[in-house]
Amino acid sequence: MDTFIQLTLNGLTLGSVYALIALGYSLVYGILKLLNFAHGDVFMVGTFIGFGAIQLLGGTVNPIVPVWALLLLITLAAMAGCACLGVVIERFAYRPLRDAPRIAPLISALGVSFFIAYSMQLLFGAEPRNYDTFSLNGGALYTNGFDIGNVRVPMIRIITIVAAFVMMILLWLLVTRTRVGTAMRATSHDREAAAMMGIDIDKVIVFAFVLGSALAGAAGVLFALRIPTYATIGFLIGLKGFTAAVIGGIGSIPGAMAGGLVLGFAESYAQGYISTRWSDLLVFVLLILFLVFRPQGILGKADIRKV
């Protein structure tokens, strides 16, 4: 039972990060019908911005601000930096190709992905960056927390899970309860009709990139609180975020959340109960199975078109 609880906790931590990444894929796909494969690299840039922000704030051994402020500030810095990067990517890599055949922006997305990853490697080297959160308050984030049975739920996991869920709820409220959210949904439903109703499509698209990239930045920091990061980490993590989006139903916001969690649990249980060796293989088999048998995902709607 303890193993099950621990694996569930692992899956929840990982899944909440995947969900934040998947939301970025879904937001952009929902509006532009574009698979933004550079999204994983935006996530990676977020991890690096977080690392840089920690250094600016004095490092983890002797930070110049309280721990809670440090965590908040690095997350906000990563979100802001990634939002700007998202705007730049949209403006220079995707907007010129908006009316091109759909394979063109897809290839452009791959190009942007490699460009960002290898530019970061050239600029900052390939050495892993460790946030060293273990040194914050003498390891308190790892040793403090609460127990479920014999399983410790440490503070660092609580922070990751709670922060991810708060952001998902805020996004949900933004999309369903605000004017800009209504505009996003209208654009997603029918871009031409939305334009005719007076919605500024360009602004909505840019806003979707800002939101998605900011979430990727936040996911980057939450991930790197526990795991070292490096310049090429975005490719595999981004692919898993894409998988989560497909599993949940790409274009669907609740679907992205559900898909991220399903993928996190699947990966964790596969490692725990099936084989540590084959967990990545199982994850991508899951992707293929969904693409073949349920392409609309768990919560997505089948794409019915008039012929």
Binding site: L14, P128, P228, V246, D280, P295
Partner: protein, 393 residues
Amino acid sequence: MKRRGEMVLAFAVIVAASLASTAGAGSTVAAKTQGVSCKSTLKIGFTAPFTGGAGFLGNEQLSWAKYAVKTLAPKYGLKIKLITGDTPVEQGPAIAQTIAQKFIADKTVVAVLGPSTSGNVVASSQAFWQAGLAHISPSATRTSLTKGPAKSATPAFFRVVPGDYIQGPSDAAFMLKKGAKNVVLFDFQEPYSQGLADAAESVLKAKSVTTTRLSVANTVTDFSSFVTKVPSSADFVFFPTQKPGDAQNIAQQLLEQGKKAKVFGGDGSNDASQFKVPGSFVSNFAPDISGFAYNKAVIAGWKKDNSGQALGSFGPPAYLATQVALNAIKKACAIGKGQIKDRRDVVRNVKKIVVKNSILGGDFRFSTKSNDPLNAKFYIFEIQSDGSYQLVV
């Protein structure tokens, strides 16, 4: 249907792109030297990871190799230029083949230092052998490179540090001495960690220690689920990674999950700036060289050239490897009367080299039975509360 097709196509494109980006090197080119004057500038190639997770290792080795070339080559009457080839561990062995071809094609390269990792030795040794290039590693420790019926390195490969046939059993013996009854051993599905884990596991099993083997892909970054599989009763987690940050990560995650097992990292995790959870252990093929009085001048000289850098354990073997290479080149020049007529003359002389009062302690010479050092041993360090490494065995 159209949407499904697009997503399948997208997935296929991305997989194809990733495969293409890792495509490997070309075929072997055996470029025989036509004869190089020893009065001209000769080159020594140095192939190691200078970037990536093991970049700390290659850079430390390079600083010592440069210092050896700067201080020793003039004494031997040689003009030597060191050229480098970066092999990040994340890129796998294909890059080592490419770099080997680059060194081989340059007829003024008369010896090679490295490869620093075992996987890269396996990938490039055959090419070096065909080209007659001696390659002397300061850190490749996989046992089967030089021993056993299926030796994966060629007779042109030499190493100045002992192999895992000593490290694995030494580490296991230490864990036994510490009263280990239950040990979890990791490998990362590549030659270095598999060889080391195999060697340690066989000794532990022979002493009736309960062992669990976990095999993890080299790309895994979050070890949480693996840590979950570590039994609460485990005394040690043997973690022979080449990325010290990963050793730090798993040590943190063991604490996070309330597991009492201590992490025991191999020589690849020996980096005090990255792996610093107190109570953990690391082994290494080099002792603290400041313990040998005759090294005082060498250490002072190196520190002058590398101000602010700490004395590590990967660098000094690179100094020794360079010293061996320079001696072999000098001998080959003497035999060729001021010329290296064939790079194989260097290979033939490496094994004859004896270094008195070597930087690693005592006299260095190769074993007559294999291209390994004679009478070498491994050293074990415990990480202290201030993050420093203290020699315990």
